[in-house]
Symmetry: C2
């Protein structure tokens, strides 16, 4: 059974202090699917693009065992576009342009074949759409969800309903503080888990990630990188690696979830090493596993 | 042979959103010595106070096997005073008052008995004084050093000389970026290690700490705390735990240095749980070791 991924597909124009790309492949569903594809398949992608979406990107996704039966291609429509500029420290970005285009009218339709999926990864889109997806699923058993400040500030009602139906929420530290209205992340994690998700993952960028569950906190290190070429998609790659690894292993124990967080971190580190989706296009599982082992070396100390 | 600790002793007035204390025991040498005292002894403390330094604090230090032969008590002089106020998120503090008093004329004199110490921990004071200390030592083999933005900005010449003579530099992330003139911490670590120290430790507060050595990076998690009562002295407690553990074990291997970083982190976590030095006054080694094990649980995942 495939892993269902819903989110945006877009054409990104990104400038960093090092380089610039125009109309490169982007979008939350794209990064999640590519990252997950190294662990399990098929990936059942649900999303929307316009007629202008390049055929080469369709091909690229298909080559990663991503099933596009759920991809709506709107004739005469224009693909979602985003443009951003990163500053020197890469932690701050300015959004220069957001053109929703075909995304404005997006109504996710889950093909029958996809409805039986047990694993669902809801990329960062309007929570009302995320709910619509879950409503169409027959019996989803493990739902991973991403969201962002924009929805926390503007669609908290829908988000509250959604959070009761997800197993894992993955957000970054500033989103966690905003959602919980609490500066301390440990306290914030309790408040957020009370809103629904059994598992909360807080991504902290260059400081790694925290995994919270009942009676458990796990602190994952960040991969030490001298050069981050393009931070776009790092969070989605994390979600894709995390969910893909769990889908592959079908083991939802806390111990395995820690491993999944490390695989998610590994995929995020590959993502930011190159522009756009380039870092996720030509990996081999052996390289992914090697990076997992580097994370082990990075954080291991013994019991003495 | 004792562990030599040099730094400030002071009377701190601290306000946090939770409480306020006046003229409490403080100063880098005090926090370092107390933290180190749980691992090894005696601690050879070198510093200066005025006639007004309360006898009960002298007693407290002596009770922790801290040898005060190197403590200058200036008759008619006034002890160093610092006053600060922490904001809601506890990451930002305003210094309300700094009265150097007897510290202004401080000239560290190392008693003969202390000069043979092989382990030296230089708390955050003027680098010219830190150099004066090293000049008096017979054959120091392991020198740990702390510094701060103030000296990086104002005394870089002396600091450059000092850095060539220390084995370990312990600073926080903003200080590392300032010292290296480099935003990326991994790149910054190389630049700083080129300035002298074989080992660099970058403290990142609620995000843990990084240890850099030849061909090695170690990422230590932060202890998940719901309540930080008073962040004052956390960095010094880290340095004290780190150096104390290495002094106790006399093992300077990279593997043991990782353990020392965790013990340093453990002592910092005890420090901030109470106001002033209270969190370091009545510990038992078993509790310290239990916390070490909590750090293990927090960051351990297996090889799969």
């Amino acid at each position: 059974m495939g892993l269902l991924v819903v989110g945006s597909l877009g054409l990104d124009t990104v400038a960093t202090p090092f380089d610039r790309v125009e109309n490169a492949l982007g979008g939350s569903a794209v990064y999640i699917s590519l990252a997950a594809s190294y662990f399990s398949g098929p990936i059942y992608l649900v999303g929307v693009v316009g007629e202008d979406f390049p055929k080469k990107y369709i091909k690229l996704l298909e080559n990663h065992n991503i099933d596009l039966e759920g991809l709506q291609i709107v004739q005469g429509g224009k693909t979602f576009r985003w443009s951003g500029k990163y500053h020197y420290d890469l932690n701050v970005r300015d959004t220069l342009l957001t053109e929703l285009n075909v995304f404005e009218e997006f109504n996710p339709i889950i093909p029958d074949k996809f409805k039986k999926s047990k694993f669902v990864c809801l990329g960062n889109i309007d929570p009302t759409l995320q709910i619509k997806v879950l409503d169409q699923m027959e019996n989803p058993q493990f739902v991973v969800c991403d969201t962002m400040n924009y929805w926390i500030e503007g669609k908290m009602d829908a988000l509250s309903v959604l959070l009761k139906r997800v197993n894992v929420l993955i957000i970054n530290d500033s989103e966690a503080r905003l959602l919980a209205k609490e500066a301390n992340l440990i306290k914030a994690s309790k408040k957020i888990r009370d809103m629904g998700p059994e598992i909360l993952i807080i991504k902290k960028g260059e400081h790694g990630a925290l995994l919270f569950a009942d009676d458990m906190v796990f602190s994952a290190p960040a991969y030490p990188m001298e050069m981050i070429y393009d931070p776009t998609g790092a969070g989605d790659s994390f979600a894709g690696g995390f969910t893909g690894y769990l889908h592959k292993t079908q083991d939802l124990s806390h111990e395995n979830m820690k491993r999944a967080v490390i695989y998610g971190s590994a995929m995020a580190s590959f993502c930011v090493e190159k522009f756009s989706t380039k870092g996720l296009e030509d990996l081999e599982y052996l390289r992914v596993h090697d990076r997992y082992r580097e994370f082990l070396d990075l954080s291991r100390f013994d019991d003495k």
